[in-house]
């Protein structure tokens, strides 16, 4: 059976939801970071599925740009994580809540 477009969209929705739930539940910075990457990749999957469905190359170009932004975000985010770990010696986001009211 040839996979339909809706299957890709369902898989993408599942991946995105796992990412959102992970960001809201997890307290470890690296886990939250990987969940953000998961959300970005779910959106990428949607782009590629629609691009293949409509025979339009624009979606794949958008995926290129999204992946670039994800790489930049990974570099800066991991730099911030290293900096936090040096200062606080912990990866828990609850330990880095100085700005919280």
């Amino acid at each position: 059976m040839v996979p339909q477009l809706s299957w890709y969209l369902a898989l993408s929705a599942v991946l995105f939801t796992i990412g959102v739930v992970g960001v809201m539940i997890k307290r470890n910075v690296i886990s939250m970071f990987m969940c953000i990457e998961l959300m970005l990749n779910a959106v990428n999957l949607t782009f590629v599925a629609f691009s293949s469905f409509f025979r339009d190359v624009t979606g794949q170009l958008f995926v290129f740009i999204v992946m670039t932004v994800a790489a930049a975000e990974a570099a800066v985010g991991l730099g911030i994580i290293i900096s936090i770990f040096r200062n606080r010696e912990s990866l828990d986001v609850d330990d880095a809540s100085t700005l919280k009211l």
Partner: protein, 158 residues
């Protein structure tokens, strides 16, 4: 992802202790929403088979390197260049963030890893003896020097 693995190796994360789950009251609502969500997904997969068929016939140029490249360098040239600038800024920013900065004094910091530092460098009026301080982290250095209540030492407990 490879970068994430490297950082996890670098930070030697120990086993996190189990703490009570926050937002305990939202768990039933979350379970109900998850059930609705999976029902929706199952509905899509099993009943919406009649999504419009992929147009067939004719050679498609989607996914070819040439079509992606021509799109990337003609129509979307400006986003392409902007992403190059973004990557450059990200590299510079990551290097700046990951550089070892000052923690104790204005000029000196004790970063994880054994190192010995002269006493008067860390605290100008600490003690008259001249034996160097050997510390692994900033907190150890503060404990050795007894300067944890000095105003310029960053508080870590707040």
């Amino acid at each position: 992802m490879v970068l994430v693995v490297f950082v996890i190796m670098l930070l030697n994360v120990e086993e996190e202790e189990r703490r009570p789950l926050r937002l305990q009251t939202l768990v039933p609502i979350a379970i109900a929403l998850a059930a609705v969500f999976f029902a929706e997904t199952a509905f899509i997969i099993f009943f919406v088979q009649k999504s419009p068929a992929t147009p067939t016939g004719g050679a498609s140029d989607v996914g070819l390197t040439s079509s992606i490249g021509s799109g990337l360098f003609t129509t979307y040239l400006l986003p392409f260049e902007i992403t190059s600038i973004l990557l450059l800024m990200a590299v510079v920013g990551a290097m700046t963030l990951a550089r070892r900065g000052g923690l104790i004094g204005a000029n000196i910091g004790v970063v994880p890893g054994y190192q010995s530092i002269a006493r008067d460098v860390l605290e100008p009026k600490a003690t008259p003896d001249l034996s160097p301080v050997e510390a692994r982290t900033s907190r150890e250095a503060e404990a050795l020097l007894g300067v944890s209540d000095a105003p310029h030492v960053r508080k870590k407990e707040d």
